[in-house]
């Protein structure tokens, strides 16, 4: 029952595989996460006329987080379209375009504004294919800058990915590295169904190796970042890095944590997780979304109902966001989501049997 998990390092050139003939393996360089996304967008637009970008201030402004940068200079305003501040309507426009031959990539300026477009995303994009008995498909990509840590307070700092992962018809990914940011985006663009990509704002400036050219990271596959025998730590997005940092420190204490980057929330790589838990017998889930009903709830429940249950030597822990909106004050803001010391303490206590 175990399944494909990639091994470290995260950015192996051999991850690059031929997707559609245009792909080629090539040297990896260091790019930031934002640059990696921009490169993916450029590659896709270069290769396929149908691909275009929509969003607020993604043109001359370059996007609120400078992800689209200078793409408008290169591809023009027809393919890098600034929309009015009309999230619901613009999402509907993207759905209509996707239904009839185009491949829109929609940037929400902040993931929080998805609250205005849930109708189009959830009732239309996610369900149209099913409701019409397969007569259509909706090849739509949406990008959501998410998460806290920028001092932008409660309405600009949410991590809402769990909502989307609750919705059949959507695919939901949360790349944690520049490599995955590019590869998942290219996979999403090639996908015939709506794919929601949650990008952490604090990751945009993070650097990592990114191969040139076209490659894809398969949607729905978790990634093994660090093998370990004592406990499985499954994390998403920025929490992958905090969990890896925690694992380094724990190693000094003799605790070997296996760190898994979930990468995809729907489909969910349940088998990979179960296989890891069968090896380590302990599970800690780390995520930034509100703890209650955040992705960790599903991960925990998935293991608790699987045959990995019998291998568990300890309760399944979750470290998620606090049960409050994200506060403005920087100290409160930090306290509202898992930080490395909290991960270390939780894992240590679990492995040492102190609860």
């Amino acid at each position: 029952m175990s399944t494909l998990i990639e091994t470290r390092p995260a950015q192996r050139p051999q991850d690059v595989f031929a997707g559609d003939g245009r792909s080629h393996v090539s040297r990896a360089r260091e790019l930031t996460y934002a640059q990696a996304i921009q490169e993916a967008l450029a590659i896709a637009m270069e290769a396929d006329e149908r691909v275009f970008l929509m969003g607020e201030d993604i043109g001359i402004y370059g996007g609120a987080f400078q992800v689209t940068g200078d793409l408008v200079q290169r591809f023009g305003t027809e393919r890098v379209m600034d929309t009015p501040i009309s999230e619901l309507g613009a999402a509907g426009v993207a759905v209509g375009a996707a239904l009839t031959g185009l491949r829109p990539i929609f940037e929400f300026q902040f993931s929080d504004f998805s609250t205005l477009a849930m109708e189009q995303i959830v009732n239309q994009a996610a369900k149209l294919r099913f409701m019409l008995g397969g007569a259509v498909s909706v090849p739509l990509v949406m990008r959501f800058p998410s998460g806290s840590g920028t001092g932008a307070a409660a309405q600009h700092s949410q991590s809402l990915e769990a909502w989307f992962a609750h919705v059949p018809g959507l695919k939901v990914v949360q790349p944690a590295t520049p490599y995955d940011a590019k590869g998942c985006l290219l996979a999403a663009i090639a996908d015939p169904d709506p794919v929601m990509i949650f990008e952490h704002k604090l990751l945009y400036k993070m650097k990592g190796e990114v191969p040139e050219g076209h490659y894809t990271v398969p949607l729905g596959k978790a990634r093994l970042c660090r093998p370990g025998r004592d406990v499985t730590v499954v994390a998403t997005s920025i929490m992958v890095h905090r969990s890896l940092a925690a694992a380094e420190e724990l190693a000094d204490e003799g605790i070997e944590a296996e760190v898994i980057d979930l990468r995809s929330l729907r489909p969910l790589d349940r088998d990979a997780l179960a296989a890891s838990v069968k090896r380590t017998h302990r599970l800690v889930c780390v995520y930034e979304g509100v703890k209650t009903l955040g992705i960790g709830a599903e991960l925990s429940a998935s293991i608790a109902e699987s045959d990995a249950f019998d291998y568990l030597d300890a309760p399944i822990l979750r470290l998620g966001g606090a049960e409050c909106p994200i506060p403005y004050n920087p100290e409160l803001e930090k306290a509202a989501v898992p930080q490395t010391p909290a991960i270390i303490a939780a894992v240590r206590n679990l492995v040492r049997g102190r609860r």
Partner: protein, 353 residues
Amino acid sequence: MAVQEMKLREKSAPARVRVVVEEAAPPMMPVIYRRLSAESLRQALRKMLLIRRFEESAEDAYMRGLVHGTMHLSIGQEASAVGICAALDPTDYMTSTHRGHGHCIAKGAQVSRMFAEFFGKEDGYCRGRGGSMHIADVSTGNLGANGIVGGGIPIAVGVALSMKRQKRSSVVVSFFGDGANNEGAFHEALNMASIWKLPVIFVCENNGYGMSTSSDRSTAVKDVAQRASAYAMAGRIVDGNDFAEVAQAAFDAVERARQGGGPSLIESKTYRIRGHSRSDRNRYRTKEEIEAWLARDPIGAFERQLLRLGFITTADIDAIRADVEREIEEAIAFAKASPAPSIEELTRYVYSD
């Protein structure tokens, strides 16, 4: 009813609003009929009759328990659906509403597959997954009814963007009701269609009510067409029960759209004779109001007009009615005989895979 067109000032022009009211009664022969062959007029009548009989038969099937859920019938609104679609090519697109049976037929769908859908069968347009509220026929450009009031409007704008970007000459019609015009989606969609000059025709079928709530109680302006001015768009009111008037407005708007002139808003004033849905107890309308509208039945009026203008004979009408009857019967038989979906395939069509 007089055609009323409000041309709104161009974006940079000085504030000035011109209101053109053509007061003259329609001429004996509507101008638009010069563009339509006698055969196409007969076909239009046939479609209106087909819609009427489809709705009545669907209602009947519902009573017999063949149809699950609820249904929103468009009896009384046939001229609006057929008049608009008369101006469309098969390659043109449409988004429709919860009250979408008429639009679907008008755009060219087969009633056999529509009944099959209502009966929840594999031969249904949605393989039994969608039902009345999601009836669609992608092969004729109907992207579907929609359970969400206003949900189809921005989608239509996206389709229009797609056509323009792909340099395809297709235009898009977005049907919606008077109730829908108070949704934010309406506002956002019309604004985007206008700034991007997209080939979309917004058709508000104003039947006076959103469910039980009259336009008076819910909409700040008397005519939805007035709102076109907020988008620097042409807004036009037509008698939705008059095929010729609807068709004229549709041809004009489609022509404008195809020539790159951008979007238009047509307000088609009409009435739904039946209740809102199957559970409507009709507490919010008077019998007199309904009867007054029954007297303005669009099908009867169209028949009389075609007879008067010599496009058709009573024998023709009888033949059409009989033909429609046969088509409906065969369609129902087809639908009944169609297989039900397999429970094994419950989660099929969620993803493309």
